[in-house]
């Protein structure tokens, strides 16, 4: 075959450039083992929390201890189910979630090691399960984000359940494929039972416009594509604190009254039984729930609520105590049942 020198040299050049650049790629850190007292080596974190937040924790932790942290990012139920399937072969040392159902999933599979007592001592009882197999690391509140030019204050729903009404058809949005919304449904399931939840989901299938991701929901509400959306509070505060480009035209409505829509979700952290570096894994969890870790929630750009070490929430937020959230045991929320119900409703 005859080559045309033009493309041959083009390819050769680009391959050469490519090879040169490939040299820049960073090597993965080595996994070391811990030797008793001081944490050392490296840990692998299955991270379902926002990457930016966990990265901030990891960076500070690495600075303090020298332990290298590798993140695998994903969603709560994805990583939770993945850990269950991996079983004893899992490379993970630590699992961090945005919501508690995925944590319970892994705990129910007997994959979590007990959390050290000094860590539990930092976290109030309301934000951790009685088993002591994982701990709360942060919290977030359900809100209705709405566009006041399309929805007046008088028209706001009193309860999340009201959104099942036909008058809300095509007027509210959500991201049902996301772990956050699924956690809200798990709260409804715990509070109202399977029958009521299934009926609500069926009406949701009819009423909602679905988006992928809470930020996208808020962006659509902001753009006036849809009057309201069910999301978590911090998306709004984080956007307001930066450019406001996706939230400037919107307001937040808190359901309160122990409504399912006032659900405050506990983000969890746990150490795997099979962790290769349990000492560093526990140290990481202790750091996150300690003053320094919780302060990152207070002062950073995440706008999630701190839950431990008596660190206050960011001043911009409505205090947790004022939200009148329903009282729920975070370890009793059932993610599998929720995905089954949502699959049956045609939302997944």
């Amino acid at each position: 075959m005859i080559t045309t020198p033009k493309w041959a040299s083009a390819v050769a050049l680009s391959l050469a450039a490519v090879l040169a650049l490939a040299g820049c790629s960073a090597a993965a850190p080595e996994v070391g083992s811990s030797s008793g007292g001081k944490p050392s080596g490296a840990i692998t974190v299955y991270n379902a929390q926002h990457e930016e937040l966990t990265q901030a924790w990891a960076d500070e932790f690495t600075k303090q201890t020298g332990v290298a942290v590798t993140l695998r990012n994903g969603d709560d139920p994805e990583l939770g189910n993945q850990l269950v399937q991996e079983g004893n072969a899992s490379p993970a040392d630590v699992f961090l979630t945005e919501n508690s159902p995925a944590m319970s999933l892994v705990d129910n599979a007997k994959l979590l090691a007990p959390v050290d007592a000094d860590i539990l001592a930092q976290v109030p009882k309301a934000y951790r399960p009685s088993t002591g197999h994982w701990t709360g690391i942060a919290a977030r509140s359900t809100v209705l984000v709405y566009n006041p030019s399309l929805l007046s204050e008088a028209q706001l729903p009193a309860s999340l359940l009201d959104l099942a009404d036909t008058k809300w058809k095509g007027r509210w949005a959500a991201s049902p494929s996301g772990a956050d919304f699924q956690a809200i449904v798990s709260a409804m399931l715990a509070l109202k039972g399977e029958k009521a939840t299934a009926a609500w989901l069926a009406s949701m299938k009819r009423n909602t416009t679905t988006y992928k991701g809470n930020s996208t929901v808020m962006k659509a509400v902001n753009a006036g594509e849809i009057p309201a959306g069910v999301v978590y509070h911090y998306y709004w505060f984080a956007d307001q604190a930066s450019t406001g480009e996706n939230s400037a035209n919107t307001k937040l409505h808190y359901f309160k009254n122990s409504d399912p829509g006032a659900f405050v979700s506990t983000s969890g952290g746990g150490v795997l039984k099979t962790a290769k570096n349990p000492a560093a894994a526990q140290a990481f969890l202790k750091f996150i729930t300690g003053k320094a870790g919780q302060a990152i929630l207070e002062t950073g750009s995440s706008f999630e609520y701190p839950v431990a070490s008596e660190v206050a929430a960011n001043k911009a937020l409505v205090p947790l105590a004022d939200l009148n959230a329903p009282v729920l045991d975070p370890s009793k929320l059932d993610s599998r049942k929720v995905t089954d119900l949502m699959t049956a409703a045609g939302l997944l």
Binding site: W7, T70, L71, D75, E78, A89, E225, T339, M342
Partner: protein, 500 residues
């Protein structure tokens, strides 16, 4: 070795069948025969049925205009119309959503996907038009057919293979694309599988949907091979054909310019200007993203390793196909075609599960990622290598041997040397595929992996369009040289463009 690769290729299909059996008929039918699946089937079918003919129409019209008319600037248009191939569909979608935020649903899907994929018909059609013998058209005209009649009855039938081949590839792309449709809120089987995966890892519902998706792919494959027909397309007669004449469009020229201009504006200008706009508003700060270099390095690393491995393993298959054609070899080869037609997502799901349960040592390793890349992109290398090998005169190798060279030396000094350019072309195509691969990399990558596509997607999911722009532009920059290579080959005598 060829058999080994083909056996590996059976894993995804086998996985779908085995999980279907393991799930059991009652559960499976509950998961398959439900309203949501009907909804997804309707969406996916409408997408394919509308987009594919539109792409074929636009692709053929554009090819004819740049190849067969005297429009000034035809060559510039000829190049510009290939550029969309350098823009991954999910980056194109990001460009469009930035420009028109309210895009959603079926017609937006048709728009974005059509603009991304029409070159897959355009390019092979250009190549075919250049090779048609004008004598056939002249005979038809001398027998009294009007010009348009000649096009319909003489030219178009001869373009059947590139149009069908291109359409098939577009159909398969439509079935397997995730990012582009997720961004405009259009649900297809693939987006629904990803949703299920995110909710359940590899739960039975995800696997049931994957099974239906695989059936859709097989349906397209069978449909295309049936429509190809048994007609003869090769030119007979001695010598080589003259280049065909070009038509004066006269008063139709403005219409042609508007058509080509709008096509380029929509398919190239919109995504480029969106990326440029985000780049400008992000300024230098956006480039200080700490993962940018890592992602670039890892993407290139995977691209090169994948291209190399794929080419090496494609060689024995191509070699057998050319030198020892027969039924067994044909079966081995076609297994690879079917496997590569399956969405990367299904292949990745299969290998995640198989690795966890059967080969934990491979789980979350870059080797496994490369294996899946190999299966996804093998035909790109085979097609090129086969056409290269077919053109090596065996006599030369035999002559070298008769002059006392060891068979291996003769082989590498003669055959390998001649095949190198095809190998390079094949590996470039594999490289292009890997650079823009998103879903299977997401599922399979070792912990801590960040490719350009993964980082881009993570930024876009957080609606950080500014932060996504540097990643988008790097993916385009890496793809442009390969796209140019495709363009150059479509104008030479090779027609490897159908292997995308």
């Amino acid at each position: 070795m060829a058999a080994g690769v083909s056996l590996l290729g059976l894993v995804p299909l086998g996985y779908v069948v085995v999980t279907a059996i393991a799930t059991g008929a009652p559960t499976l039918s509950a998961l398959v025969f439900r309203p949501r699946v009907a909804e997804l089937l309707a969406n996916t079918a409408a997408l394919v049925l509308i987009t594919v003919p539109l792409c074929a129409l636009v692709g053929v019209a554009a090819a004819w205009l740049v190849e067969r008319t005297r429009l000034a600037g035809a060559r510039a248009f000829a190049i510009l119309l290939v550029v969309p191939l350098a823009i991954p569909a999910f980056v194109n979608s990001y460009g469009w959503v930035s420009a028109v935020p309210s895009l959603n649903g079926l017609w937006s899907g048709v728009l974005v996907a059509g603009l991304s994929y029409f070159p897959l018909v355009y390019l092979p059609t250009v190549a075919a038009l250049r090779r048609l013998d004008p004598a056939v058209e002249e005979s038809a005209r001398s027998l009294g057919l009007p010009p348009f009649g000649v096009f319909l009855r003489v030219v178009l039938p001869q373009l059947r293979l590139p149009i069908l081949g291109g359409s098939l590839i577009i159909g398969l792309h439509l079935l397997s694309e995730y990012g582009a449709f997720a961004m405009i809120r259009f649900d297809t089987f693939t987006t629904a599988i990803v949703d299920q995966f995110r909710s359940t890892f590899n739960g039975p519902a995800a696997n049931a949907l994957a099974g239906v998706l695989v059936l859709c792919c097989l349906f397209l494959l069978v449909g295309e091979s049936g429509a190809r027909g048994g007609a003869r397309y090769a030119r007979i007669g001695s010598g080589s054909a003259r280049p065909a004449g070009r038509t004066h469009l006269g008063l139709w020229s403005p219409v042609a310019y508007i058509f080509l201009g709008v096509l380029v504006a929509l398919s190239v200008l919109v995504p480029f200007s969106s990326v440029a706009r985000w780049l400008v508003s992000g300024g230098f700060a956006a480039w200080s993203d700490r993962y940018l270099l890592t992602a670039l390095g890892q993407t290139i690393g995977y691209g090169l390793a994948g291209a190399l491995v794929t080419c090496l393993l494609a060689f024995p298959i191509a070699f057998l196909a050319v030198r020892f054609p027969g039924r067994v070899v044909r079966v081995l080869e076609s297994i690879n075609y079917v496997t590569s037609s399956l969405p990367g997502l299904v292949t990745a799901l299969a290998f995640v599960t198989v690795a966890i349960r059967l080969v934990p040592a491979l789980y979350q390793t870059s080797s496994l990622v490369i294996v899946v890349y190999l299966l996804m992109f093998l035909p790109r290398a085979i097609v090129n290598l086969r056409s290269g090998l077919a053109q090596v005169p065996r006599g030369l190798e035999e002559a070298a041997r008769s002059l006392g060279r060891h068979p291996l030396v003769a082989f590498s000094a003669v055959t390998l040397k001649f095949v190198m350019p095809s190998a390079l072309a094949g590996s470039s195509l594999v490289f292009l595929g890997i650079v823009t691969e998103l879903t299977s990399t997401l599922l399979l990558a070792p912990n801590g992996t960040r490719t350009l596509a993964i980082q881009f997607w993570s930024r876009v999911t957080d609606v950080d369009y500014v932060g996504a722009a540097p990643y988008a532009s790097l993916m385009i920059l890496l793809s442009l040289p390969v796209t140019y290579l495709l363009f150059a080959r479509s104008r030479s005598e090779k027609a490897a463009v159908n292997s995308l």
